[in-house]
C-alpha cells in the first residue's frame, strides 16, 4: 500500500529531526546523485538554519562562547526545543533559560546571563508600542495630586538581576573588544532594559532606584515611593531623590502615557 501524504510528511520530518531514513524508500532514484545525499541537503540545512536564527538573536553569546561551543549549545537546544512557531523571531525565546540548565556550561553562569540580557534586549526591540509619559504630561499636576500619583511601565521595560559581570561582557563585545574575565558578584547588579528612541537599551540601577522602580511597577503611589526612599536617605531628601529618579525615567521613556491616569 502506498503512503498517504500524511505518512510521507511524518517520515520526512523524522528524517530531518532524528536522521530516521525510512523516507528513503519513497524517494525517487536520481541519475546524478545518491538519494541519501540529496535527503541530507534538507537534514543539513535544518540545523544550519536554526543555528543561524540563534546567532542572529544572540550574537554576543555566540562570540563569547566561540563558534563551536555555541553551535553545540544550539544543537542541544533545538533537539529538545524544536521550533513550534511560524516566526523564526520567537524560536530562541527559551534559549537563555535553556543555557541556565545546560550541564556543560554549569560553571559559566555568565554565559547564560549574557544570553538572558540579549533576549531581554530583543524583546524590548519589538515590544508593543505605547506612548511614553513625558515631563509635560505631569506639568499641570497640583501638589495635592502628587502623593497619589501612580505609574505604568512602558511595555518595552524589563528588569534583570545579574549575579555575574555579564553586562560588562556584553558591553565589551558590543564594541568588539576582548571581554573581561567572568566574575561572580557578592551583590547582584540591578539592570533595566527598555526601548528608547527605537533602540533597545539597558542601564544599571542603584539599589534604591531599583527598589522604587519595582514598587512603582506594582502600582505603589508616588507618596509611598518617597517614604520608601526615606529608608535609604534622610527623610527630608527623599522627595527630591524621588523627583530626580522620576525625571530620569521620563526622559528615558521608561513609563507609559496612561490616558486614564495622568
Amino acid at each position: 500500500m502506498s503512503d498517504s501524504l500524511k505518512d510521507i510528511q511524518q517520515k520526512f520530518q523524522a528524517a530531518i529531526l532524528n536522521q530516521d531514513d525510512s523516507i528513503l524508500a519513497a524517494i525517487k532514484e536520481n541519475n546524478k546523485e545518491e538519494k541519501h545525499t540529496l535527503l541530507n541537503v534538507y537534514q543539513h540545512a535544518y540545523g544550519a538554519r536554526l543555528i543561524e536564527f540563534l546567532e542572529n538573536d544572540f550574537p554576543h553569546t555566540a562570540a563569547y562562547l566561540g563558534q563551536e561551543a555555541f553551535a553545540q549549545t544550539c544543537q542541544a537546544y533545538y533537539e529538545t526545543n524544536p521550533s513550534n512557531t511560524p516566526n523564526a523571531r520567537w524560536f530562541g525565546l527559551k534559549y537563555a533559560n535553556f543555557l541556565k540548565n545546560y550541564t556543560p556550561l554549569q560553571q559559566s553562569v555568565e554565559a547564560a546571563e549574557l544570553a538572558t540580557l540579549e533576549q531581554a534586549l530583543n524583546t524590548a526591540f519589538d515590544a508593543k508600542n505605547a506612548m511614553a509619559l513625558t515631563q509635560a504630561d505631569l506639568a499641570n499636576l497640583t501638589p495635592q495630586d502628587w502623593p497619589t500619583l501612580t505609574f505604568t511601565p512602558h511595555p518595552s521595560t524589563c528588569r534583570l538581576q545579574m549575579r555575574t559581570n555579564a553586562d560588562l561582557i556584553w558591553a565589551a563585545l558590543s564594541k568588539e573588544k576582548t571581554p573581561p574575565d567572568p566574575q561572580k558578584l557578592q551583590m547582584p547588579t540591578e539592570l533595566i532594559v527598555w526601548r528608547g528612541q527605537g533602540m533597545a537599551r539597558f542601564r544599571t540601577l542603584s539599589y534604591d532606584e531599583a527598589m522604587i522602580w519595582d514598587e512603582a511597577v506594582k502600582g505603589t503611589n508616588f507618596g509611598a515611593l518617597c517614604e520608601m526612599l526615606g529608608t535609604y536617605w534622610p527623610q527630608e531628601e527623599a522627595p527630591l531623590k524621588a523627583a530626580n529618579y522620576l525625571q530620569a525615567w521620563l526622559s528615558s521613556e521608561f513609563l507609559e502615557h496612561n490616558p486614564t491616569g495622568v
Binding site: L5, K6, K28, E33, V41, Y42, D126, P155, G198
Partner: protein, 286 residues
C-alpha cells in the same frame, strides 16, 4: 478597498526583496525601485522599529507580502492565528497581493523552517485545493503561490510539478509567483526540461517572477539566494517573459547581501531584458 482574490493584480514593475541592511539607504535616498516584497514574518511582531520603518516604506512604495510559514501543503490543520497575523499586517501595508510557497514546513506542531517537497498526487492536489480556497477567502487579497526548489522527488508522484501547479491554479483561481531560479534548480536536480515546465504553466496566471542566485554542487544545485543571478537563469527569464508577458519581478537575495548600489545594476538588467522582450512595455509611474 482591497482587491478581491480573483481580480488579477496589476503589473507594478521591477523591485527588490526588502532586507534590513538596506533600510537606511532606502529611507535616506529613495532609490528608483518600483516596489518591495516584504517577508511577512519579519513584521509580525508587536511593535518597535521594524514596523515604524515598514510604515515609512509603505508610504513611498507599493509592497507585496511574501510569507514562509503558511505551510499550505501540510497535513496538519491551517494555523488560523498565523493567518490572522497576516491579515493584520495586510491592513497595515495594503499589499498588491499576498504570497507563500507551494510546500509544507512541518507536522505535529513543529516548524522545520524549510520549504519542503511533497509528492504530486491527486490526494495532495485535493488537500491543497481545499486549503487554498480557505486561505484566499480569509485573506481577501489576491493570493499567490510560488514554486520551490527541491532536491528530492517521490516515487508516488502521479504528475509533473507543472501539471500539479496548472491544475491547482485552475481549480482555485489562485495566482502564481514563478521563481525562475527555482525552475532552473529543480530542472537540473530532477532532470526535466525547464522550458517544458514553463510551457506547462497557464499563461494568464503568473503575476510575479523571482530572480535569484544559487550554488552549484556539480551533481545537484542548491537554491541559496546568496549570489548574483546566473546566465542560465537570465536565459530562462527571457523565455518566461515571452510566455507570460511583462510580469512584476523582484530580485530575491537572502544571504551575503551586498549594498543596494551593487544590486541596483542587476535590477536594471531585469528591467532592460523585459523591455527588450516587450518593446512596448511602459515604465510604471513613480
Amino acid at each position: 478597498m482591497s482587491p478581491s482574490s480573483n481580480e488579477r493584480p496589476p503589473f507594478i514593475g521591477f523591485g527588490l526583496g526588502l532586507r534590513p541592511t538596506h533600510y537606511k539607504d532606502i529611507l535616506e535616498n529613495n532609490p528608483p525601485i518600483d516596489w518591495f516584497e516584504i517577508i511577512s514574518e519579519n513584521f509580525m511582531v508587536p511593535g518597535g522599529k521594524p514596523l515604524a520603518i515598514l510604515d515609512q516604506i509603505v508610504e513611498r512604495y507599493p509592497v507585496v507580502m511574501h510569507g514562509v510559514s503558511l505551510s499550505i501543503a501540510s497535513t496538519q490543520p491551517l494555523d488560523m492565528e498565523y493567518l490572522k497575523g497576516l491579515k493584520t499586517l495586510a491592513k497595515r501595508t495594503d499589499p498588491k497581493w499576498i504570497s507563500d510557497h507551494l510546500c509544507w514546513t512541518g507536522v505535529h506542531g513543529i516548524n522545520l523552517h524549510d520549504l519542503l517537497p511533497f509528492p504530486y498526487t491527486q490526494e495532495a492536489l485535493e488537500h491543497i485545493v481545499e486549503r487554498v480556497n480557505i486561505v484566499q477567502d480569509y485573506l481577501g487579497h489576491p493570493f499567490t503561490l510560488e514554486n520551490v526548489s527541491s532536491y528530492v522527488s517521490f516515487n508516488q508522484s502521479e504528475m509533473t510539478e507543472w501539471e500539479f501547479i496548472a491544475e491547482l491554479t485552475k481549480r482555485t483561481g489562485c495566482w502564481l509567483l514563478l521563481d525562475v531560479n527555482n525552475v532552473y534548480v529543480s530542472s537540473f536536480n530532477h532532470d526535466f526540461d525547464a522550458i517544458e515546465f514553463i510551457n506547462g504553466i497557464p499563461q494568464d496566471r503568473v503575476v510575479q517572477f523571482h530572480m535569484a542566485g544559487h550554488s552549484d554542487h556539480e551533481t545537484y544545485i542548491v537554491d541559496t539566494h546568496d549570489a548574483p543571478v546566473r546566465d542560465e537563469v537570465w536565459d530562462l527569464y527571457r523565455a518566461c517573459l515571452k510566455r507570460f508577458g511583462p510580469v512584476s519581478t523582484i530580485i530575491e537575495r537572502d544571504d551575503n547581501i551586498p549594498p543596494l548600489n551593487e544590486i541596483l545594476p542587476e535590477l536594471e538588467k531585469v528591467r532592460q531584458i523585459a523591455h527588450e522582450v516587450h518593446p512596448k512595455l511602459k515604465p510604471v509611474a513613480a
